[in-house]
């Protein structure tokens, strides 16, 4: 499972978001490899899922993988509610 998180510069917010997702996934027994990148290098990244803040996500519409848009980056609940079901679905899809 590889998740790419995206923000404007690719090392502040996106890194925090990635650590949050990894913590959350680990609690549910999912191991997430990830990378925090800037908007410019996000395009065409090879991964299972992208997660970005809502003001950035609009620029990633043409990606081949699903892009989750997070409105409030400080809300652990929002991150969990939006990301966890997708992670579980991806795992279920891979097992088939």
């Amino acid at each position: 499972m590889k998740v790419v998180t995206v923000c404007g510069m690719g090392f502040g917010t996106s890194l925090m978001l990635l650590m949050e997702i990894q913590d959350m996934a680990a609690k549910h027994g999912i191991k997430v490899d990830g990378e925090a990148v800037d908007l410019g290098s996000a395009k065409g990244k090879n991964c299972d899922l992208m997660v970005a803040s809502s003001e950035i996500a609009g620029e990633l519409q043409e990606e081949s993988v699903q892009v989750i848009s997070i409105d409030n980056l400080l809300s652990k609940t929002e991150i969990q509610d939006k990301v966890l079901p997708v992670l579980q679905a991806i795992i279920a899809g891979k097992d088939k």
Binding site: G10, F11, T13, L15, M16, A36, D38, S54, I70, D71
Partner: protein, 422 residues
């Protein structure tokens, strides 16, 4: 043997690599994670230095061009590039200040009621470099500089989040996170002033902003456009004979555009390096911080606030650009011409918009962004004579972070009172 150890401990890439390895071992990571993490820190730092070389190589002809065109000195305010450029000279000091300041931060957070843990890695790196440079200018080097720099930085890593926290509460509506960014004081001030002129009932978020300008949020695009504009305008003011000398016969405008874009490419390479070494170090810092300081409030990078008012980010940034450009055009009487420095204007202007919106609605957001762009560029211009970067062979770059510049000013003043480095 001793010279070998000294040589190892004067190389910032190796210092950070060793620290990452120790951290990863302490966190009981797997062998593969330890090897991966350590190598990525080393590679990241080498990439950072190569990016810096590219940037410096484009700024040397640019500085000549700018002086020939306007008989003035022009600078771009960008901390990471500046600090990366002095790593061959002050790398050891920077790397150790980066690490030890975090320990000072943890001690303060552990023992006082200010539970802030500063987790914005590139800001820790740039501030550490700022300390190393400022102390070096005051004639303080080596371990003395590392000790003083680490204590000052460690205090700042708690102090500045504490100052901005009341404003952060207004924006986010809670007290869970803090503002870990060396523009926090100036952004909070701009937001507060925005509140004086506006009405917070009339929020920016009711305004429709065209989606078509969203592509400017890609930093490489925005910086590319602005740097091309700066280079072309400068070229237009130079006579063709001088220009031929600088370009060694290439077409003047072709040379300008390609050099401008090479500068941007250098910044992108540098940031990729920063990204690589931070993504290994920061998770370790976060893990250790949360263990040592119960109830820690992470002080985070500026974009976490953008989602509270995305329209205010756009308005604040545009207003900041206008404010910054005004300073560029009137800077004939200032010590230096501060060129539009898009990274600072975008990230700080956008945040000023969000903070201004929280206190003063749309008018507050626009005023806050404008004030930030104007006063920040002015601050950079006025503080410029305090630190002479030409000593390190760096042209055309200067410090950007207002909080760090305030600390530099205080350090220089204290130095003058005690007769150090005056």
């Amino acid at each position: 043997m001793l010279t070998f150890i000294t040589s190892i401990l004067s190389n910032p890439a190796i210092i950070l690599g060793i620290i990452a390895a120790v951290g990863l071992i302490a966190l009981r990571k797997s062998v593969s994670d330890i090897i991966k993490g350590t190598l990525k820190v080393l590679l990241g730092f080498i990439i950072l230095q190569q990016g810096s070389n590219i940037i410096v190589s484009t700024l040397i002809p640019f500085s000549t061009m700018f002086t020939k065109a306007f008989h003035l000195t022009g600078i771009v305010a960008e901390d990471n590039s500046l600090v990366a450029a002095v790593q061959t000279l002050l790398g050891r000091e920077t790397a150790f200040i980066l690490i030890f300041s975090f320990i000072v931060n943890l001690l303060i957070a552990r023992t006082t009621r200010w539970k802030y843990i500063f987790l914005t890695g590139h800001m820790m790196f740039s501030f550490a470099g700022t300390m190393a440079i400022t102390l070096d200018q005051m004639g303080i080097t080596g371990w003395t500089a590392i000790a003083i720099g680490s204590v000052i930085q460690g205090i700042c890593m708690v102090l500045f989040p504490a100052i901005s926290q009341p404003f952060v509460r207004k924006v986010t509506g809670n007290d869970q996170v803090a503002f870990g960014f060396w523009g926090s004081s100036w952004i909070s001030l701009s937001g507060w002033l925005g509140g004086l002129v506006g009405n917070k009932e009339k929020s920016t978020e009711d305004i429709k902003v065209p989606k078509s300008i969203d592509f400017l949020k890609d930093m490489s695009v925005l910086m590319g456009l602005v740097m091309i504009a700066i280079f072309i305008v400068t070229t237009a003011f130079i006579d063709s004979a001088t220009m031929t000398e600088i370009t060694k016969g290439q077409n003047a405008y072709q040379f300008s555009i390609m050099t401008a874009l090479t500068f941007v490419a250098g910044v992108l390479v540098l940031l990729q390096g920063v990204r690589m070494f931070l993504s290994e170090i920061i998770p370790a810092f976060k893990g250790i911080g949360e263990k040592i300081v119960p109830g820690a409030k992470p002080a985070l990078d500026v974009p976490v606030f953008y989602s509270f008012a995305p329209v205010a980010v756009t308005l604040g940034f545009i207003a900041a650009m206008v404010g910054g450009l005004i300073v560029t055009f009137i800077s004939g009487f200032l010590p230096v011409v501060v060129l539009p420095s898009v990274i600072g204007l975008f990230f700080m202007g956008g945040a000023a918009g969000v903070f201004g919106n929280a206190t003063g609605g749309s008018r507050g957001a626009i005023f806050a962004g404008f004030f930030l762009g104007f006063s920040w560029s002015l601050l950079v211009a006025l503080a410029y004579p305090l630190v002479d970067m030409s000593k390190y062979g760096v042209q055309g770059l200067w410090f950007a972070s207002p909080d760090a510049i305030i600390v530099v000013i205080i350090m220089r003043l204290v130095g003058m009172i005690f007769g150090v480095g005056a």
